[in-house]
Point group: D2
Chain length 349, copies 4
């Protein structure tokens, strides 16, 4: 850490700061410049409370040098983490596609969508049983019934399922049904929930909060890893900006930034980011071109009747077409995207 002193700081104040740093077991280096005096701290600054220093008399600011996260960092672990779920690898050279409806509605509908997306080449089924909704008057999900439909759809198709957990009290129920637990954007800093998913063994997909910096995003992932669960998947899903043409602004540069800072796999959810169906396909392609390890895409066979987010859902046929186009992009960036056997014959039913 580097401590910048205010101009006119007294020697006594400076000595006090130096002593504080020594008290913390660190080594201060005082550098007297023309306009400012700077104290550089040698040692693991994480041991130090940044706030404690900036509240000392004479301190103008404290600039951290090291990143505040550790386990999730690329420095801690150089090689890419690959999270394996029922034989499907997330991370590595393969590009994984998760697809399905926003919320689970009926058993039949879910199963039919699951069959369609599998044919198209998706390898994981998404579907919300518990839905975090902005309004208390919106459909809140089927709850445990929805989880059961998901289990049935998995049985029928063999696709592992990913579904969102909202409440730490639901963990036992979730453990029975889900293959991957999703922590949604609104809960990215629900630290009790992070601790809970961190202290069980199923993989966790953590979505970036609407106004979370990448540093905060990684610190939330650090919560999960430091609680004992190394199987963490990150998901960029758009940040809040002033632009209103899209629901949120998909921050695709977060993909290569994250790939540099962390070893964890990075998924992109274009559907929630843009909030309009016609924008999903171009942003899905862009995500893979930017280096994403996978996608999460909403598919619904009747968007106009969807219980939630019908605005952004793709029809199964459009999804099939998109998968073919995504495959071309994956190849162009030297990666592979499984299209599923039946998908290759999709045009001749």
């Amino acid at each position: 850490m580097v401590i910048v002193l205010k101009p006119g700081t007294t020697d006594r104040e400076k000595d006090h700061i130096v002593q504080k740093i020594k008290d913390a077991g660190l080594m201060p280096h005082v550098l007297i410049g023309e306009e400012r005096t700077v104290i550089a701290i040698i040692g693991d600054e994480r041991a130090f409370q940044k706030q404690a220093l900036t509240a000392l008399p004479g301190v103008e600011k404290a600039v951290p040098i090291l990143s505040p996260y550790k386990l999730v960092s690329r420095e801690f672990k150089k090689e890419d983490t690959i999270v394996e779920v029922n034989g499907i690898k997330i991370g590595g050279n393969n590009v994984v596609v998760m697809a399905g409806p926003c919320s689970v509605e009926t058993n039949d509908l879910l199963t039919s969508i699951a069959i369609e997306i599998k044919k198209a080449g998706a390898s994981i089924l998404r579907g919300g049983a518990f839905k975090p909704r902005t309004s208390p008057y919106s459909f809140q999900g089927l709850g445990e019934e929805g989880l059961e439909y998901l289990s049935e759809a998995r049985q029928r198709t063999g696709l592992p399922i990913i579904t969102e957990v909202l409440d730490p009290r639901d963990m036992p129920m979730m453990a029975k049904h889900a293959d991957i637990l999703q922590v949604g954007a609104r809960n990215m800093q629900n630290f009790k929930l992070l601790e809970e998913v961190g202290s069980q063994s199923k993989p966790v997909m953590l979505k970036r909060g609407l106004s979370a910096t990448i540093k905060e995003f990684l610190l939330s992932a650090e919560y999960i890893m430091s609680a004992g669960n190394p199987r963490v998947i990150l998901c960029e899903r758009g940040i809040r900006t002033f632009e209103t043409q899209t629901r949120n602004t998909l921050d695709l540069s977060a993909v290569p930034v994250l790939k540099r800072l962390t070893h964890l796999p990075v998924i992109v959810d274009p559907s929630h980011a843009v909030g309009k169906t016609y924008l999903v396909a171009p942003m899905a392609k862009a995500a893979i071109a930017a280096g994403a390890d996978g996608l999460m895409i909403e598919v619904h066979s009747n968007p106009a009747e969807a219980f939630c987010d019908g605005d952004q859902a793709m029809l199964p046929d459009d999804f099939k077409q998109l998968m073919i186009e995504l495959d071309r992009i994956a190849v162009a960036v030297g990666r592979t995207l499984s299209l599923g056997t039946p998908a290759s014959t999709a045009s001749t039913p």
Copy 2:
């Protein structure tokens, strides 16, 4: 709601949309303009899924006319809500000041700060026992021990206490100690927690999320009220913007906007918004000038040793001085701020 059709929408598509609206028990009015056809919906549009409409072929956009919240709205209840806690009225003509340390640290420290702020005129003691921290390696609060210290401080000073609840499972413990439950900015859309605090009887102070629109903020308050608890207090505490000189940007215009849209009392927390001690006093004054019903201010007798947020805490003496200045502003806007009996003699110790 007003449905705007795309140019070139067919009659069949239009008829389908009209039928959908009728199916929902509402009355469509088709208005054919030169460049666009518009369908106005008469009736309570809240009965309608906005998404369902925009996903219909031919629809360009759907513009809601009514606000999506109801119980919290000024239209639903014209007169100001006053939340009473142990005889202290939040809302109404009085300006209430909540003060105390960011986190509860030791019993002695807490009590001494409580005595100081009471002398200065504060009427509610704040202090975190459970702290939501960005990093898993930061101090997370004393937990139940902290709640006990708060109870003791209340016993000593008579000040009711406000403290943050992070986990729905902690509710019974909270109910034993807290007078007001605080839901923090990061949990503003933790809907399970909102339901939980909504289904008990203690007052709830809901902080605005870092990137929450005022509409979303009110919808989160609606969660609490619709779960059965009408004693909701709103708190503006800064929103996330591009500016880095302050921790967040305090949106003081939210105060008069909220006072127009809702009957609930509005508190401002300048300490967390700005994150730097020297900015707290001017922003506290500005908040009262803007019409806030109260303030929440961090006070610590030794900020440089504070376990969290020492950067923004005021010294008790500075707080005392601020209270005197706040009183003048309150008077200037036709309101009253209790200065506490001993405070009036503070200058003659």
Copy 3:
């Protein structure tokens, strides 16, 4: 436009509003709902001052239905505009790459970079002679001397040149040298400059302002077109958000949004958006995958000595490699990117 009345608006107020609308030559339709009365306006609402209506007693809000721009809109002109410069087509199926240094520094350096990027397949040379710099103490560009070097580089390579115009008074000088005039992000709402570039005949590339909505961006393009110049190229270059890992946040969803709203070609400048060299290649690829008509990329043979923005410049060899990868993405999305004759033999010098 749709006018929403406040609850409790009197008949007299309503009649006054209705009269105002008729006075403007438009037709009001009054729709009386259960909770709100709405007045829909039939006719070209652009004739109306939105503000004038919202300031009338009784009006809660006015919701425009039509977009405020006209000449730039896809409704006004269905087919894609192709801007041709010295035989190079911007827009259409071809993907165009503009490259070069941030600022023009020396004649030799500029020419050598121009030769390199041409070899790699770039078809337009970029370089700033007048630089808009945040600090008055930063290098402000070589001025007219820089323009002359650009002219010489064009003569040597045949590449048309694009350069930024900062001052309406520089137009005659610019007209002598530039092939495409660039209006930078900071000048997107410098309306006098927009009028000036709109009243001459050279193509104009307009960059999106740091905090410009897409609607404002299109209205600025409308300034240029309505002044008489139809040869407008749009350029997304990142918007300002709270994230600090990148200089700005590249809003790639703006590409498909713009392609739907306007007929004008859309270029992406990843270099300025991200501000770090290692992020330029993934974002360039993503831009083409998202449907961009071209790219503007900073290339410098010695970034550490660059007079400006060395942080984000690519080395010529890395740019060559990127062009090969971009070509694959272009093919994958059914478009073509000229790699330049020498580039195809680049690996065997």
Copy 4:
């Protein structure tokens, strides 16, 4: 400046960086830590191109210690700058109110508003003759005719006038009429215009850009001062955020931040920030409570007929009332606000 090296940087790379720093005439201090090596630079880092350093191999980041502006800084000049215009002091203990219509419309209307605001205690008349409008189809101002009306209003009332300059070519015309030149938010980084207003002698009020950081704002003021004009007034007028209830978000914490960083006077324009009349009064009061040196407020005798921004204009009578309330706030914070002779008898009609 502090240079943080990447982990694994070679000695050769390090030596190269050290040499670069010495070449710039500065002194490098190499500090080898456990996880990172840091090089602190002693001397005036402004002499150094930050970019040049970060583009060097081995450099992870460069953290500046000194602020990049100089003349505008509080360190450069400790005492508050007071800008005097026709005997009116902007800055210092007095709180100055500028008021008037958004745009100049007719001679009679302007004069009548000028008389009204003077009566209420305003000391400077505002009015736009050249209006920067988002749409080319909106009213663009009366131009020179508007300037003449302003001159006449000044002659009638004695109030100095402030009006916006959009184009460097208009400077001679402006010099004839205006007492204070305003540079609007959209032109805050129109550097040619800044140089122009900096090289003449009239005071300049510089508005903060919609997405300008405080650092950028001060650097734009530095442009004006470094061009030779020390009479600069800063104006906070709202920044762009995600919130849509207000036109922009008024960043009142910018007031105390600026008062600490710079010696220049700070004005607040609540009208443009919030964009709705009912919000102007509370935010005007809050601005003075936060420490602003003055206000700019839009007043129009018939907002519904205003050529622009009628939404946010106050009626003269409401403005009169506001001035009385502002006076109380000014007194409460130990400052004075002149109420004008007739205004002091306003309460006894």
